[in-house]
């Protein structure tokens, strides 16, 4: 071994050790960052819009395709499935969660639930079919395809939420024929949310087309005096679904009997429903203690006492490791400089 080789070995070994240390400590944080970045894409293929909008006759079958992609920086297990669609409170899209039984229009799809290992940056194209039953009547039908992370992203803490991030695209099937827009109104109920009363009224789209009705609401007390009035433009109210419209009030209603007057009007289709005198019973509140009440007497923490020490322990370990790595780095650099001086010195 000549002098040149010795110098390279002397310099190379400590540097390699330093590199290994840096990689070892940088590794976990990089992995965690990648894990939290769930970026999936679910896109319809050869469709003019952002979702499937089809016109099919009873008995027809249409073959379709959807692109499933991972846009993140790490492989991910992605779950895809077809799910029932419903109308959420005050209108809008709601899609049932995974493992919910498939019913109605969703059973028209040939789209088996699957969990796919998607490497970063890859796209797969999945074929499926829609078959309209021979007995299907005219009108609009809706279901949806969903893509989501199969394993919820975990969060730690005494009170925490894991997370499923999903995206959904609609599959709308229109069966040609008579369009019969129709609405109906049901019962009213009362609840308290964030310190104010909320009146909920059941509504149903009994027709065969989606609507966006304007809701007009008035509330009267037992003596017939008007307590509140409001209007609300509902978001999409899907055909053959029911939901509720909710009206928040400015204060908490006193217990007693009230009357709700509600109208739904969809100007586009002309559909209308009237609820001229819907009974609303407000019960006396029970259960929750008043906030800040003296009954709230802390006697012990929710989390176990041992768990409360974990953050301090982690900070201590991190500090110790940081000091150790820093000390090692300084020592290695000093060693390198010392060796270089020795090698560069005359007569070495």
């Amino acid at each position: 071994m000549n002098a040149d080789q010795r110098v390279r070995r002397m310099h190379g070994a400590p540097l390699a050790l330093l590199g290994l240390l840096l990689v070892a400590f940088a590794g976990p944080s990089a992995a965690q960052a990648g894990e939290s970045a769930v970026k999936l894409a679910l896109l319809p293929v050869a469709q003019p819009g952002a979702y499937f909008d089809l016109t099919l006759r009873p008995g027809d079958t249409r073959s379709l395709q959807v692109d499933i992609a991972s846009l993140g920086d790490a492989e991910i297990a992605a779950r895809t499935y077809a799910t029932d669609v419903y109308t959420i409170i005050n209108g809008g899209f709601g899609g049932r969660l995974r493992d919910t039984p498939q019913t109605g229009v969703t059973t028209w799809l040939d789209y088996p639930t699957d969990v796919i290992a998607l490497p970063a940056g890859t796209t797969i194209r999945r074929a499926f079919a829609v078959t309209v039953p021979k007995h299907a009547g005219p009108g609009e039908y809706i279901t949806a395809l969903v893509l989501e992370n199969d394993r919820p992203i975990a969060n730690n803490g005494p009170v925490a939420l894991d997370q499923v991030m999903r995206q959904a695209i609609a599959v709308v099937v229109t069966v040609p024929g008579a369009r019969t827009p129709s609405l109906s109104i049901g019962a009213a109920t009362h609840k308290v949310v964030a310190g104010t009363s909320v009146v909920s009224i059941a509504v149903e789209n009994t027709g065969n087309v989606r609507l966006k009705p304007l809701v007009t609401f008035a509330l009267f007390d037992g003596a017939g005096a008007q307590v509140s009035t409001a209007s609300l433009q509902m978001d999409t109210f899907y055909a053959h679904t029911n939901t509720t419209v909710e009206m928040p009030l400015a204060r908490v209603l006193s217990p007693g009997d009230y009357t709700v007057r509600l109208t739904l009007v969809d100007t586009g289709s002309g559909a209308r429903a009237d609820g001229p005198a819907i009974l609303l019973v407000v019960e006396a509140r029970t259960g929750l203690a008043p906030s800040g009440g003296s009954a709230a007497n802390p006697t012990q923490v929710v989390m176990d006492p041992g768990e409360g020490q974990i953050p301090l322990l982690v900070v201590g370990i991190a500090l110790g490791v940081g000091l150790l790595v820093g000390g090692l780095s300084v020592g290695l650099l000093a060693l390198i400089l010392r060796r270089r001086r020795q090698v560069g010195a005359p007569g070495s």
């Binding site: 009170v159 999903r166 609609a170």
Partner: protein, 194 residues
């Protein structure tokens, strides 16, 4: 080996690297045409800050509050933006502890109390005058997250960008809830639907 020798080697290495870089760059310069493909992405939505403060054991029901941050992004560059919405919903909070009589906290106890106006990060600007969004839907129904609540929406041809939104939440912890951890699952959906 002397220092001059090391410096010569370093200079030779740098020269070779510069030559390689120049060789690789030359075809684009010579052709005078640069082709850059831009591929479309998708829709993503996620929520950060999903840990609520710990609470003391109490003999009466009480609330813990927190603020979560929703991030929604539309990178579907290959279709006309079709609009989107972001319903979120929660499961029950599952209890884990050493007591023998602990219980889960129902999802009905976890409520959205306020969805702030979205903040622009990048892409298409927020249109507040024409109410095309992204915006808090005027139909938003604050309350329990046991049912989905749509916190943000963009109408057709809007929302091609990245936006964040603060969500204020409250968890009502039932009286005498046992010590331990309570973990729920938040499902964040971003949907392209009529």
């Amino acid at each position: 080996m002397d220092r001059i020798h090391i410096r010569r080697r370093l200079a030779l290495g740098l020269g070779t690297a510069a030559l390689l870089a120049g060789t690789l760059a030359s075809p684009a310069i010579a052709a005078n045409i640069v082709t850059q493909e831009i591929t479309g992405g998708g829709l993503t939505a996620s929520v950060a800050d999903l840990t609520l403060p710990s609470a003391a054991f109490q003999n009466a029901a009480h609330d813990v509050t927190g603020t979560m941050v929703l991030t929604a992004e539309d990178t579907r560059g290959d279709v006309i933006p079709g609009g989107w919405s972001t319903p979120i919903e929660s499961s029950d909070f599952v209890w884990v502890g050493s007591a023998t009589d602990g219980a889960n906290i129902p999802a009905a106890n976890f409520a959205l109390t306020l969805a702030a106006a979205p903040s622009y990060v990048s892409g298409q600007a927020i249109d507040t005058t024409a109410a095309t969004g992204p915006q808090v839907p005027p139909t938003i129904a604050y309350g329990s997250l046991a049912s989905p609540i749509k916190t943000l929406r963009a109408t057709a041809a809007y929302g091609l960008g990245k936006y964040t939104q603060d969500l204020s939440v409250t968890l009502t912890i039932p009286a005498q809830s046992r010590a331990g951890t309570y973990t729920g699952t938040l499902t964040t959906t971003i949907s392209a639907t009529p």
